[in-house]
Each structure stands twice: as structure tokens, then as C-alpha cells.
């Protein structure tokens, strides 16, 4: 069942002329003796939209958490926007300013208002004056269509609204790259669309995005490339149409059949 192909289908850049803004080379990671990332190599160009999919436990969340070093890798190199990820705290600071992240479980700060959630990092990390930070925050809250909730607390909002706030909060730092870790998995079906709409808008505005999701419709609509992971390795990658209509590997075929049966 081992796919020799997977070793060779290393991700290609969609647009080979631009330098990659994220470059992962032969990244390996273990949790104890559990091998969770195996020789993962991935290059993402500026303004590219990559969707990562795969069965649960395939290492896709771990991979994108490595990109802003919420997890540290043990072998290989990761270079983000010209900065290599190391134990050095300064490189960590630089990366985290440039990379925004949206989590499955929102992770809004429950003791702060929506507006304070959005202005906290710009004030303390970007050293913005409060009034400017609030202006930026209101601007992004309008873009995710909830400016009227600014004075409320996260607990008073629906799941879909909270996730849109989380997106606005990340955007307030004006990141170059946005990472999404299953942003719609914790949402009720009727709220998924409002979050996806915001993400589609963001993709159309030219943001570099790496998105772990099972929303195949979203992948079809906005992704430049789909990456399929299984058992800690990248098995196959390519344009969404090709991936869905003509899967090359058995593992992707199996995965797609399960996804389709599930829906």
C-alpha cells in the first residue's frame, strides 16, 4: 500500500516565476516515538491559495501549526517570508507578526470585548496608537460584516460570528499569510456559509492562504492547489479539478469516496 509515487510528487509551484513565501523542505516531526510529519516538502508562492485535506490524524493540522511554530519541527527546514524558523525568539517574533492564524475552536479571549480582542495585538505588538488600532479593527469588523457587535463579549455571539471575529482579529495584524486550521469544523451547518463567504472574499483580495478544510466546494472555488496528506506525508497535490476528477493514488481515491459518501 506504500506509495512510491508520493516521494516524487513533491509540490510544484503554481506560478514558478515568484519566489516561495513559505518553503518547507523535508520536514520531520515526532511526538515521542510517533512519527507525525514525514519528509514534508511544500512551497507556497505569494498570493497562492492552498487547501490541505486528508483524513483525521494525517498530520495536516500539525503541518500548518509548524508554519508559525506553534509546533516545532525536528528535522528539515522551514523558511517563511525569508526567515528560517529556529529556536531563536527573534525569528519567532518576526514570523508571528507576518502570519495570521484562525483556529477550529475560535479561541477568542472571553474576558475582552470584540473590539479589544482585535486591538490587543496591534497595540502591544505593532505598537499602534489606540485610536488607530480601533479604526483598523472597525474596518476589518465591517469587512467580516459584524461592526455592530464591537462592544459585545465573545460569549454573546454565535459560533459563526465568533469565527468571523477571529478572522478579523488575525487580519488586524496585517499579516502577509493567513493560516486556517479547520475553521468551519466546529460550526453548525447554517453558519458555515457565512464564514466561508468571508474566506472567499479574503482569497479574492489576494491574500496568501493555507487552509486545512474538508469543504471541497470551497477548495474548488478558490484554491490554486489542493494538497492531500495521509499518515504524515504529502501523498498527492495538484489543481483542484484534477485532484477531484482524476485522483492518481489509491489513498486519495479512498478519501474522496468517503468524503462524498459522508456528504
Amino acid at each position: 500500500m506504500s506509495q512510491a509515487v508520493s516521494e516524487h510528487i513533491v509540490a510544484h509551484l503554481a506560478d514558478t516565476s515568484a519566489p516561495p513565501i513559505i518553503a518547507m523542505e523535508k520536514v520531520n516531526k515526532w511526538f515521542g516515538s510517533l512519527h507525525v510529519l514525514r519528509d514534508v516538502s511544500l512551497a507556497v508562492a505569494e498570493k497562492e491559495r492552498v487547501v490541505v485535506c486528508g483524513p483525521s490524524g494525517s498530520g495536516k493540522s500539525t503541518m500548518i501549526r509548524c508554519i508559525n511554530r506553534l509546533e516545532s519541527h525536528q528535522e528539515g527546514r522551514i523558511v517563511v517570508d525569508g526567515t528560517e524558523l529556529t529556536d531563536d525568539l527573534r525569528s519567532l517574533d518576526t514570523i508571528r507578526r507576518e502570519v495570521g492564524m484562525v483556529f477550529q475552536s475560535f479561541n477568542l479571549f472571553p474576558h475582552l470585548t470584540i473590539l479589544e480582542n482585535c486591538t490587543l495585538a496591534p497595540i502591544w505588538v505593532r505598537k499602534m496608537p489606540k485610536a488607530d488600532a480601533e479604526e483598523v479593527a472597525m474596518n476589518f469588523l465591517s469587512r467580516v460584516r459584524i461592526p455592530e457587535q464591537a462592544k459585545k463579549y465573545p460569549g454573546q455571539l454565535s459560533g459563526g460570528q465568533q469565527q468571523r471575529v477571529a478572522i478579523a482579529r488575525a487580519l488586524c495584524m496585517r499579516p502577509k499569510i493567513m493560516l486556517f486550521d479547520e475553521p468551519t469544523s466546529a460550526l453548525d451547518p447554517e453558519m458555515i456559509k457565512e464564514v466561508l463567504d468571508v474566506m472567499i472574499e479574503l482569497a479574492e483580495s489576494g491574500m496568501t492562504m493555507v487552509c486545512v478544510t474538508h469543504e471541497m466546494g470551497f477548495a474548488r472555488q478558490v484554491a490554486d492547489r489542493v494538497v492531500f496528506m495521509d499518515r504524515g506525508e504529502i501523498v498527492e497535490s495538484g489543481a483542484p479539478e484534477r485532484m477531484f476528477s482524476d485522483p492518481q493514488t489509491d489513498r486519495l481515491k479512498l478519501f474522496l469516496s468517503q468524503i462524498l459518501r459522508g456528504h
Partner: protein
């Protein structure tokens, strides 16, 4: 009207609404009233019976009830007292007041120290260092499983095993430790010190104003100046300068051995010390658990989300984690503070004269059992209520930020 009466349900409805109660066991209101009359009646009867017995017993022993005894001369020797006291002159009222002050003295210092020690141990249990985490958890497990009273006896026996004053352990003239307790060198208070203290208070206010100004500057420009240089300048340098300007007086009050004990200097009795150490180490074990579970109650996702936004560890702790952990910590912490206060009554077992000890001596000498017990209960209920009210107010203040 006629079609209304035609509907059988509405016919019933016109009859059914009944006010007042039916004298029937199937009426819930009637049943409730009967139950309450029976239960309250039984309690009242019991109290009546006990009061009757008590009155007869008091009459048989020729004890007059009332608080007149508070005006009588006490004659209770009191070892340590924060206010001037002479058993031959002062009244039972004064003696009881000293008891209250002693209780408060132990409880207040104990609360502060136990909070500090408990927080350190609680954080130690979460440490990534295996040895530190193991040792602190051993501390918590062991101290919680030994009765406080036994621990107090243990500490007291250790203090009593210290050498007598003549062979006291000492650090120069600074500190003498003997089986009579600790004696330490202190400064003779002079006007220069009062002025310096005043300078410190002014400096504290200036520092608070400074922090406001820094905050406002940050809001306007985004740049944050560090606060600590101003704090150092206003709260340390300013009082020192005042003290130096007034001639830098320095008159130590040195403990001197006279006869069997030391005179002069500051003193801590072994009883107070043993009680304080016992209360603090014991309660710290409980506070450590509260702090630990409070911090653990903040989901890992909060750390990650704040980290992903580029905030530093220290800012995450002060801006994100602590405000949320406090909300979990405050209510159980309140009951630990109440426990310290109540447990300070174990003082009576090692001879520290707190309110329970003095009230008990008083009621044994005067026979005023009911009044003595009433005083003890009143004092503790007042303290408990004050702590609860303060902590509830504080909790409400934090909760207000919450929602």
C-alpha cells in the same frame, strides 16, 4: 355568552379558579403550611426546652446573665498584646479586645504569606522541571493529609527545642533565636522615618499617576515607556533622599540579654511563630491546588491564539491567562481565607491567646458560658462576613469585566 357555556372546558373554568386554601391534605399549600408548622414547632419546642433547662441550671449556680462582667477587672495574664495591658487593672472587655486583635494579627499575616507561598507552589507544580513539579506535589499531598493541630504541635516542639536565651542562635546583633522566640534588631523610630514614610506614600501616588500617563501616551502614540524607573525613583530614591537630608539618623534598637530573656528589639513569641508557620504551610498546600487548577482551567487554545498574534509570554500571562484564571480562583480562595481565620482558633492548643482562648478563660472564670460563646460566635461571624463581602465585591468587579 351562550356559546361560551356550551364549551364544557370553559364551564369548568368558571368554577375552577379558587382563591385561598382548602383544608384538605391534597392541597399543596395546606400541606406546606402543615409541614412548616410541625417542623418549626418542633424546633421552637426544643429551643424552649433547652432555654428552660438553662435558666434553671443558671439559677441553681447563681449566675446572672448579661454582659456586665465585661466591666470587671480581668486578672487574666496575657503573654503578648498589641496594646498596653495590665491584668490587675484592665477589664475583661479589654482582654477580649486583645484576643480579637491577636486573632486578626495572625489571620491577616497568615493570609498574605499563605497566598504568596501557595501561589509559588502551585506554579511550581506546573513547572516543566520534573524534580520541582514532583517535590511541590509531594508537599501538597503530604501536608494536606496531616491534621493541622498535629502540625502546630510539631512546629511548636521544634521551637521549644531551640537553645535557651543564653545560648541563642544569632546572626550578629540582628537576630536571636531561642526557645523564648525570636528577637530582632529594629530601628528606633524617629521623625526622619515618618517623613521618609510620607515620602514613600507621595512616591506611590506619583507612580500611580505615572502609570496613567504612560498608558495615555501609549494610547496616543503606541509607544510604551517602562514604568519601573519611575517607580524606583519615586518609591525608593525619594524616601531615601528625604531620610538622608534629615541627617540619616540610624539608631538600632538592639536586643540585650537581661536575666533569663532579652530586652529591647522586636519580638516574636514562639507561640505566634508556630501558629503562623503551621497555618501558612498548611493552607499554602490548599491554595497551591486552587492556583494550579485555576491556571489549568484556561484552555491551551488561549495561549496558542495569543502566541499566534505575536504576543510575548509575559504579556500573554498578564493580559490573557491571569485575568481568566483569577475568575476561577477567587471563590475557592475566599473559603481558604475564611479557613485561615477559623483555623487560627487552634491557637488555644499551643497557648497563643487569641479570641477563643481568652473568651474560654473568661467564661471559665466568670461562669458566663452563654455570653462567652456568643462573643466567640459574633466575632467569627463578623470576620467571616467581612471577608466574604470583600471577596464578593472583588469577584463582582472582575466578573463585570467579563460580561
Amino acid at each position: 355568552m351562550s356559546d361560551l357555556t356550551a364549551d364544557p372546558r370553559l364551564v369548568g373554568a368558571r368554577v375552577a379558579p379558587k382563591k385561598g386554601l382548602r383544608l384538605s391534605w391534597s392541597d399543596p399549600l395546606f400541606r406546606a403550611i402543615v409541614w412548616q408548622v410541625v417542623i418549626v414547632g418542633a424546633v421552637v419546642a426544643l429551643v424552649w426546652y433547652l432555654v428552660g433547662n438553662t435558666n434553671r441550671n443558671l439559677a441553681a449556680r447563681h449566675i446572672a446573665t448579661g454582659f456586665a462582667f465585661l466591666q470587671r477587672v480581668a486578672g487574666i495574664p496575657i503573654g503578648e498584646s498589641p496594646i498596653a495591658y495590665d491584668p490587675a487593672v484592665n477589664t475583661y472587655g479589654t482582654a477580649l479586645l486583645i484576643g480579637i486583635l491577636n486573632t486578626l494579627r495572625v489571620a491577616a499575616v497568615g493570609i498574605v504569606l499563605a497566598t504568596i507561598l501557595g501561589t509559588l507552589i502551585g506554579i511550581g507544580r506546573l513547572s516543566g522541571n520534573w524534580l520541582l513539579a514532583r517535590l511541590t506535589s509531594f508537599y501538597v499531598e503530604t501536608l494536606r493529609d496531616i491534621p493541622l493541630l498535629l502540625q502546630l504541635f510539631f512546629w511548636y516542639s521544634i521551637l521549644q527545642a531551640l537553645p535557651p536565651p543564653r545560648q541563642a542562635w544569632h546572626i550578629g546583633d540582628l537576630l536571636y533565636l531561642s526557645n523564648r522566640g525570636a528577637r530582632y534588631q529594629q530601628l528606633t523610630w524617629g521623625p526622619a522615618y515618618s517623613w521618609a514614610l510620607g515620602g514613600f506614600v507621595v512616591g506611590l501616588i506619583a507612580t500611580i499617576i505615572c502609570s496613567r500617563v504612560i498608558r495615555r501616551r501609549q494610547d496616543q502614540t503606541g509607544q510604551r515607556m517602562p514604568l519601573w524607573p519611575f517607580g524606583l525613583l519615586f518609591m525608593v530614591a525619594l524616601p531615601l533622599a528625604i531620610w538622608a537630608l534629615l541627617g540619616a539618623p540610624f539608631q538600632p534598637d538592639v536586643p540585650v540579654l537581661r536575666g533569663f530573656n532579652y530586652q529591647g528589639g522586636g519580638a516574636v513569641s514562639p507561640e505566634y511563630f508556630a501558629l503562623l508557620v503551621g497555618l501558612v504551610t498548611y493552607t499554602a498546600a490548599y491554595i497551591a491546588e486552587i492556583v494550579r487548577s485555576g491556571i489549568l482551567a484556561v484552555p491551551q487554545g488561549q495561549w496558542e491564539a495569543a502566541g499566534a498574534l505575536g504576543l510575548h509570554r509575559r504579556r500573554i500571562l498578564t493580559r490573557i491567562v491571569l485575568p481568566q484564571a483569577l475568575r476561577v480562583i477567587i471563590p475557592p480562595m475566599t473559603s481558604q481565607y475564611l479557613n485561615i481565620t477559623k483555623n487560627s482558633s487552634l491557637a488555644v492548643a499551643i497557648g497563643f491567646q487569641d479570641i477563643v482562648s481568652i473568651a474560654y478563660t473568661t467564661l471559665n472564670q466568670t461562669g458566663q458560658a452563654i455570653e462567652g460563646v456568643a462573643i466567640i460566635m459574633a466575632v467569627y461571624l463578623t470576620i467571616s462576613l467581612s471577608i466574604s463581602l470583600f471577596m464578593n465585591w472583588y469577584n463582582a468587579r472582575i466578573a463585570l469585566v467579563e460580561r
